[in-house]
């Protein structure tokens, strides 16, 4: 079987895959990174979103060999080595942007991409449109939208979460 080499959350990983093996299967089944979830089989829900070379992608519709040699970040790799949470993780907790938590890893990874790719500002409508590829059945999105808006200034070095809450 062919071998695929990845850097996942800062660690080198080399795994055997079949041609049909999906990136999400490598992460969950071979590397034990079960924080990345599978919520559908039609590439609609976004529970599986991870970052490949810094960009959010759906790992349920990416073949492992397609990303050979890439750097992958999953939800498990977001916090700093000392355990400090990423501002988006903090914001999700602070704004009660999760209930069952199943959509959350994909939602957080998509949200980070959304904020990163909008350095000049992010309106509520842009956030809602930007979440087009992520389904949450629990929250009604209200608090997810708030959390992302609150994380924006923090991620762009223009404020703190506490200030955003004011």
């Amino acid at each position: 079987m062919p071998q695929v080499t990845l850097t996942v959350n800062g660690k080198a990983a080399s795994v055997e895959v079949e041609g049909r093996t999906l990136l999400v299967e490598v992460l969950r089944d071979k590397l034990g990174l079960t924080g990345t979830h599978v919520g559908c089989d039609t590439s609609q829900c976004g529970a599986c979103v991870v970052h490949v070379d810094g960009k959010a992608i759906k790992s349920c519709t990416t073949l492992a060999w397609q990303v050979d040699g890439s750097t992958v970040t999953t939800i498990e790799g977001l916090a700093a080595a000392d355990g400090t949470l990423h501002p988006m993780q903090e914001a999700f907790r602070e704004y009660h942007a999760l209930q069952c938590g199943f959509c959350t890893p994909g939602m957080v990874m998509s949200a980070i991409d959304l904020v990163t790719t909008h350095p000049d500002g992010l309106t509520e409508q842009q956030i809602r449109d930007g979440l087009e590829g992520n389904i949450c059945r629990c929250t009604g999105y209200h608090n997810i939208v708030k959390a992302i808006a609150a994380a924006w200034p923090v991620m762009h070095g223009r404020g703190t979460l506490a200030a955003a809450a004011e």
């Binding site: 079949e18 049909r20 969950r28 990174l33 079960t34 924080g35 990345t36 979830h37 599978v38 919520g39 559908c40 089989d41 039609t42 609609q44 829900c45 529970a47 999953t74 939800i75 498990e76 977001l78 916090a79 949470l85 993780q89 999700f92 907790r93 602070e94 009660h96 999760l98 209930q99 069952c100 938590g101 199943f102 959509c103 959350t104 890893p105 957080v108 509520e124 409508q125 956030i127 809602r128 449109d129 979440l131 087009e132 992520n134 389904i135 949450c136 059945r137 629990c138 929250t139 009604g140 999105y141 209200h142 608090n143 997810i144 939208v145």
Partner: protein, 793 residues
């Protein structure tokens, strides 16, 4: 520095979030056992067929395959049981056909499991399942209640004549007829409650494990109620002794009702693990979820309201056909009866009501409770009917409601459909919602929208629902085959920290936080020193799980009772230590004090004494500080409230945009306002989804057309507005917390508010009623069929 307030009423941030936001949640599919095999289920792609033959030889021989089982192998197992027996009008019991684990001779819906292939990897099992040669002889199928009850309709089950499960009624028929005979006005409405697919984001999964040395079985499953599964599967399907069977429902990614029921796959993996002496795991693909998770709603009804000349409601008559699907799911039969017909008084003083419900078998996926379960169906019917009555009597929509509300001073209020409401104030929630939504200012907003070529409408719903279904004795007399109490074990550790073992289950509701707050509030133990354990039958006493917004009202009340016992025992220990009379010992703010003095012992000191009983009244009192209480409520709880929705329809596309949504709910005592708001927001999103977007569609032959997220419209972030959510609470009078429940109010109150708004927006087009979902296609057709001559162009 004062510790932050973390008791009842504080929006404490959730304990469970830390693991979820860092990817450390532990959902069923995340669990793997050594030597684990993978099961893939071959399902029927036909709505109704006779199984002529199944050739498993090629699949058996495929790489990695360990076993293939069909209905022939599982025919000796019990039928998947239904938990509630309804009786027909004539007193005879409902039809209850066998519900096999794997199809026996016939398949009755698309998704009906025919065979299971078990292999070393999921891919091998999938590949082998493709090699099964199954010969089916197609039979005529019935997909809708109307088709199934038509004369001469083909039968789903031989033994269920006319495809009827039951023909049931409630209320005083003669008195209702008399009220109609004397009415000044009768308003009649035919309506449907659309079929929904719950779609919790975590697909169902089950992992069966068998320990050959002890003979014990363990099932990890995506369940809202592990003890109920243990009882149903152990005692009725597999015949396993309960003490040999452990059921674990770890982190569960949403339920909304769909994970209450005992499903075939749970029995299959547990049984197969025993047969093969290896763990067996099954995880649904989303496509499988669509055709195997119990669906929700699916009612076809006729409702008639009798009014006097002043607009007072005199009587209500309802006739409903409720779709059961092909087999009876665990609570399916209770939904259109005791969770529906009993709710038809709503918030109104309607003196007489008569309801007839026929439950109907069809060749579709079983239908059971989905968020709200029966109550959204009752609310939609009633709140649409009241709007139509307003329209046809010329009364204002708000005034007709006010005129018929149960007065504030009428509680406890006995309805003509069995329930007795303990408390409520429908005027308060109405007034608050009208104000927040700026109802009075709507005409100006409508005119402004019209100037831009848009159609604005506003709609209201003043609903009531019933949660925490109980008491056990009453539900037993109505056909429930279970008790509906709840249990809590409060374990105080020697150092004073606390573990709560609750029989309820959290799959998003935040119990680990809310329930810890109850402990902080009552025992004064810091929030950080309280942990809540749920979801494992080997750890918790026999509990009934979570559904029907029962966890706080019933489970939280059990905790209060258990903590009362802790405090009583603590007072006895304190009396001994402080050499005082027990009657003089007060417990407050985490301290046991001799009344009127400063002599006191902290909760921690008492805990330590209980476990290190050196100086202890050992003759009268056992050591330890660990108490359990079972709480069986005296009544349901009755949340209610007012939802107002404002929409704007684009006449060119038929697309409805929700501009504002206001919910003012009465949920009783609120423990964590942040969590309550989140529950309401999520419920409203599902209600808006039902009203505008979601629809489970079968073609007339029983083929499921909306079988994926490509075809079934899940609400997404850009379909929804920000919500304005508030509470205006009256206390439940019969439980110690005063809480009523908040998990379902959003999904119950909102759909009629949305549709009433859509109908209002289209008032110039002569629209009287629109069935859900109010899809763009439906609205565009209405608008373009009747575009007024003066349309601005």
């Amino acid at each position: 520095m004062n510790a932050p307030f973390e008791g009842i009423g504080a929006s404490v941030r959730r304990k469970e979030d830390l693991r979820f936001i860092s990817g450390n949640g532990h959902y069923t599919d995340d669990i793997n056992r050594p030597g684990q095999l993978h099961a893939v289920i071959k399902r029927s792609d036909r709505p109704h067929a006779k199984i002529l033959s199944i050739d498993t030889a090629a699949a058996q021989a495929a790489p990695g395959v360990v076993a293939v089982f069909t209905g022939a192998d599982t025919a000796g197992l019990g039928s998947i049981p239904c938990g509630w027996q309804i009786h027909n009008k004539d007193g005879s019991p409902m039809a209850e056909p066998r519900h096999p684990v794997l199809a026996e001779g016939f398949v009755r819906h698309v998704g009906d499991p025919i065979a299971v292939v078990i292999a070393d990897t999921k891919q091998h099992a999938k590949d082998a399942a493709e090699l099964l040669a199954i010969d089916l002889e197609e039979l005529p199928a019935v997909a809708t209640v109307t088709a199934a009850t038509a004369p001469g309709a083909y039968l789903v089950h031989e033994g269920a004549a006319g495809n009827l499960c039951y023909d049931w009624h409630l209320g005083d028929k003669a008195a209702t007829e008399a009220a109609f005979a004397s009415a000044a006005k009768i308003v009649k409405l035919d309506l449907e409650n659309n079929r929904l697919i719950p779609n919790a984001m975590e697909p169902r999964a089950a992992l069966g494990d068998f320990d050959a040395s002890s003979g014990d079985y363990t099932l990890y499953t995506t369940s809202q109620n592990p003890h109920v599964i243990r009882l149903l599967m152990g005692a009725f399907v597999l015949g396993l002794p309960e003490h040999r069977l452990r059921v674990v429902a770890p982190d569960v990614g949403g339920g909304f009702g769909s994970k209450i029921y005992h499903y075939a796959e749970e029995a299959i993996v547990t049984w197969a693990a025993g047969k093969l002496k290896r763990p067996v795991k099954w995880t649904a693909d989303r496509s499988e979820s669509f055709m195997s998770d119990a669906h929700g709603r699916d009612h076809v009804s006729t409702a008639e309201l009798a009014l006097d000349a002043q607009g007072k409601f005199l009587g209500l008559k309802v006739h409903t056909l409720a779709n059961m699907g092909a087999y009876l799911s665990t609570f399916a039969t209770a939904v259109p009866t005791y969770l529906y017909a009993t709710l038809l008084a709503g918030t109104y003083t309607t003196p007489v009501i008569y309801v007839e419900v026929k439950a109907v078998f069809t060749n579709t996926v079983p239908v059971d409770a989905y968020r709200g379960a029966g109550r959204p169906e009752a609310t939609f019917l009633l709140e649409r009917l009241v709007d139509v009555a307003a329209q046809e009597t010329g009364l204002d929509r708000v005034e007709i409601r006010r005129k018929n509300f149960i007065p504030r001073d009428a509680f406890p209020y006995q309805t003509p459909v069995a329930l007795q409401y303990d408390s409520g104030d429908y005027f308060a929630t109405l007034d608050a919602a009208l104000k927040t939504a700026d109802w009075a200012g709507f005409p100006a907003r409508r005119a402004a929208a019209a100037a831009k070529g848009k159609l604005r409408g506003i709609g209201i719903s003043t609903y009531l629902e019933a949660c925490g279904i109980a008491p056990s004795k009453v539900v037993g007399s109505l056909g429930a085959r279970a008790g509906l109490y709840e249990v809590a074990n409060i374990r105080v550790h020697p150092t004073g920290s606390v573990t709560v073992f609750t029989g309820t289950h959290s799959h998003g509701q935040g119990h680990e936080t809310t329930m810890a707050q109850l402990v902080t509030d009552q025992l004064g133990v810091p929030f950080s020193q309280v942990d809540v354990v749920h979801g494992d039958t080997s750890k918790i006493p026999f509990g009934m799980g979570t559904y029907g917004s029962r966890s706080l009202a019933v489970g939280g009340s059990a905790m209060v009772k258990a903590m009362d016992k802790i405090i009583l025992k603590g007072r006895k220990i304190a009396a001994h230590l402080l050499e005082a009379d027990i009657d003089d010992i007060e417990f407050k703010d985490g301290k046991f004090t001799v009344a009127g003095t400063d002599r006191a012992k902290t909760f921690g000191e008492i805990a330590l004494t209980a476990y290190v009983p050196h100086n202890y009244p050992i003759e009268e009192l056992e050591p330890g500080l660990d108490e359990t209480a079972f709480y069986d409520p005296k009544n349901f709880t009755y949340p209610g409230g007012c939802h107002i929705c404002e929409v704007e329809i684009d006449p060119d596309t038929g697309v409805t945009k929700v501009i504002n949504f206001t919910a003012v709910d009465d949920v009783g005592r609120v423990v964590n306002p942040m969590i309550v708001e989140g529950q309401v927001q999520g419920g409203v999103a599902q209600g808006i989804g039902q009203a505008l977007l979601e629809n489970a569609v079968y073609d007339e032959n029983g083929q499921l057309l909306s079988g994926s997220f490509m075809d079934y419209t899940m609400p997404r972030a850009d379909n929804l507005p920000n919500f304005s959510v508030a509470t205006e609470n009256t206390m439940c009078t019969h439980n110690p917390l005063g809480s009523k429940g908040c998990g379902e109010v959003g999904a119950i109150g909102s759909p009629p508010a949305v549709i009433n708004a859509v109908v209002d927006a289209l008032r110039d087009y002569g629209v009287r009623h629109i069935n859900m979902p109010a899809s763009p296609e439906k609205l565009w057709s209405i608008i373009n069929a009747g575009r007024p001559a003066m349309a601005a162009e």
